[in-house]
Amino acid sequence: MSLRRTAATARRVLEQLRRDPRTIALMLVVPCLLICLLKWVFDASPHVFQSIGAALLGIFPFIVMFLVTSVGMLRERTTGTLERLLTMPLGKGDLLAGYAVAFGTVALVQAALASALTIGLLGLKVSGPVWAVFLVAVLDALLGMALGLFSSAFARTEFQAVQFLPAFVLPQLLLCGLFTSRDQMQTVLRWISDVMPLSYAVDAMDEISSSTSVTGGLIADMAIIAGAGVLALALGAATLRRRTD
């Protein structure tokens, strides 16, 4: 891996994003609007917002990064730019790290906006440190990115890539503990939710909102999210083939 190539890749991805202000707006504004909508929907029962608000701060970056990475990487595959890059002295690690730095930056901005809104304006109470909310949000974003990269290998068209969102993400969303607590689920579902990384994102956010200090549970959750991200990235890297049919 080389710092120059990674930095150049990150810069190029950000330049592409900058040329696409509509996508930036969608990435940054839509999560905020949805959080506001949720607050409004549960206007009559504020405890609901209180119990899921923090979890949402972990879920949005995951979903958004999954989408932009899977479509972005698919474009690299279908337009031949990936093939060109792989004939050049660019390591797969350079490419992946470049994407991670670029999208991670956007994720940081998104997490900052969403948490400022949720915690500042909408009055969500978080007992733990705000930086931990941030850190978990960015880890989730990187996990979403890694899974998006991996899933892009199975899509032939952008149309299919977008359809992977319900396939890869919705089951995790249903089982992550957002709708019902994970220990109240049927045993089989509980097992499935145990192996889905998004469950730990929700667990981590729950820890932060209920505990004033950084607990061992939180550290373990973060380690699992990061570990799942690294695993997905390794699987994704394996799908970047220099030689193809």
């Binding site: 150049a8 190029r12 330049e15 696409d20 031949g80 093939e83 004939t87 050049m88 220099r242």
Partner: protein, 239 residues
């Protein structure tokens, strides 16, 4: 003994159950401008991809500059231009070239040099998706010229270009091949009249090499007036 920049022996490529190249051997002499000519669908692109090292092969050997095609050491010595322009359409010409230059570790002034070489001066800041098809192809060619490639593999680089520009690009290819440190060019085309611009020809049909020689020798050997005629004569002879 001629020095070969590209040496292909017994290359076999199977794609999706179809044998595209059954058993192909061919050599590209160093410093030549070798035209790979043949009808559309005869396996030219597959052959070029094998030379660049991005094609899975079922057998045989492809060596470039004495090393196995696809070796890591070759990555900054081969420039490759695919048939469809493989550049970022949402970035400007310069943004594309600056990125690829950074990946290659090419000098800072290199993007300007290649923009000039392909005749895109004045279009540096234009987004690639606002350019015409021919201009887009030239951005892709410019990216292949970045750095100091020893071998250039160009898949139909002049297709659809205006004749003046085509002549200029062939002029550029010959300049590169004649340079003090000569570049070897392997250029595919399905337009037979480009044959006269090459110093060597590889004529291909249905995954096989019909002939490999200089244009003059091919005309003498077949007694044809032009390469199209020579091609027909060779097909007739092999049938």
């Amino acid at each position: 003994m001629m020095n070969f920049a590209v040496d292909i022996r017994g290359l076999r490529v199977v794609r999706g159950g179809q044998t595209v190249l059954p058993d192909l051997s061919a050599q590209v002499p160093s410093g030549s401008v070798t035209g790979l000519l043949g009808p559309s669908g005869c396996g030219k692109t597959t052959l070029l991809r094998a030379v660049v090292g991005v094609q899975k092969i079922a057998g045989g050997e492809v060596r470039v500059l004495g090393m196995a095609a696809g070796s890591a050491v070759l990555r900054d010595r081969i420039g490759y231009m695919t048939q469809a322009p493989s550049v970022y359409s949402d970035l400007s010409v310069m943004e594309n070239l600056r990125y690829f230059a950074a990946v290659l570790g090419a000098p800072r002034a290199d993007p300007e040099r290649v923009v000039d070489a392909v005749g895109l001066v004045g279009k540096e800041d234009a987004r690639v998706d606002r350019l015409s098809g021919g201009q887009r192809a030239r951005v892709s060619l410019a990216a292949a010229l970045l750095g100091a490639p020893r071998v250039l593999v160009l898949d139909e680089p002049t297709v659809g270009l205006d004749p003046v520009l085509r002549a200029e690009l062939w002029e550029l290819f010959h300049r590169l091949a004649r340079a003090e440190d000569p570049v070897t060019l392997l250029v595919s085309s399905h337009v037979m009249d480009e044959a006269s611009r090459c110093t060597r020809l590889l004529l291909m049909r249905e995954g096989r090499v019909l002939a490999s020689d200089t244009p003059r020798a091919l005309l003498e050997q077949t007694g044809a007036d032009d390469i199209e005629g020579a091609f027909l004569a060779l097909v007739g002879a092999s049938a």
